[in-house]
């Protein structure tokens, strides 16, 4: 749209075809033309054609620039650029070195931009990096072990303090946990479970699914 305003502003008196006007035949000129009505036949300009949202052009068009916000049925041959804006609808072929088709525009036909430099196309394509799936990060069952391991050590502590009365009242709880779990015979579940969960549990919950788009 920036281009449209620029061009329209530059020309003081440009030709306007109003919304209720129908021109059928051949139209040529050396100035900008704004179409809000209908033009049918053949349209040749050495400047810019602007087809506004209410405009309908059913013609073979030869211009320098074309900005299409309305409807064009026919081929456009532009020496500079063709732009289909969000409201633009077009059926026909475009031949221009610069062709801009904005999201929302509808177009059916061929586009010919002339020679395309071979080096440009791959470079402009962004390199897509996708997160990889981590293999072997599935150790979910270890989770429930945590409450069990913690729940069980708490009852045992009371007896040890009784055994070692006043030496170290605070530190004992941790050592007893390992000691008691080992002593309680639950070593198979309790010992590995305690260190592992924080690391594996967090990673295991996230599953990343990568879909490759068919091209």
């Amino acid at each position: 749209m920036a281009i449209a305003k620029e061009v329209a502003g530059a020309a003081g008196n440009n030709t306007v075809v109003g919304p209720s006007i129908l021109i059928s035949g051949k139209l040529t000129g050396d100035e900008d033309l704004t179409v809000r009505g209908r033009v049918e036949g053949e349209l040749t300009l050495s400047k810019t054609l602007i087809v506004e949202t209410t405009g309908v052009v059913k013609a073979n068009v030869a211009v320098r620039n074309a900005i299409v916000s309305g409807v064009v049925v026919g081929n456009i041959n532009a020496t500079e650029s063709v732009e289909l804006t969000r409201e633009g609808r077009m059926v026909g072929d475009i031949h221009a070195p610069r062709v801009i088709i904005v999201d929302g525009a509808s177009f059916r036909g061929r586009v010919d931009m002339g020679e395309v430099e071979p080096g440009r196309v791959p470079a402009s394509r962004p390199v897509v990096t996708r997160p990889m799936v981590r293999p072997g990060a599935v150790t979910v069952p270890s989770r429930p072990a945590i409450p069990v391991a913690r729940g069980r050590p708490t009852p045992p502590p009371p007896p040890p303090p009784a055994a070692r009365p006043a030496a170290k009242p605070v530190p004992p709880p941790p050592p007893p946990a390992t000691a008691t779990s080992g002593a309680a015979g639950a070593a198979g579940r309790g010992e590995p479970a305690a260190p592992v969960p924080p690391v594996v549990g967090a990673g295991a919950k996230k599953k990343v699914v990568v879909k490759k788009k068919a091209r």
Partner: protein
Amino acid sequence: MANTVIGSSIVIDGEISGDEDLVIQGTVKGKISLKESLFVEGSGVVEADIETQNVEIAGRVTGNIVASDKVELKQDCRVVGDIKAPRILIADGASFKGNVDMDQKER
């Protein structure tokens, strides 16, 4: 009066029709039929049959003019063709060749 303008460098060969005012600064060949007013400005050249409500001509017109209301030939215009309208004004300095029909009965 932001309506249809045919700029001075524009050439139209064909037919123009519509329901709004039309200003011609360029060249039109063929046929013009409007339900409103047609203004042919000083730089305008029309080689066409014209059918409108009002016509004001300051440029050149070659062709027959039929207006449902008024035809006005301004000072420096050059018109060749027949004019048919209930009101026809020809200003001093206008050049005109053709028939004039102001017959009211047909309206």
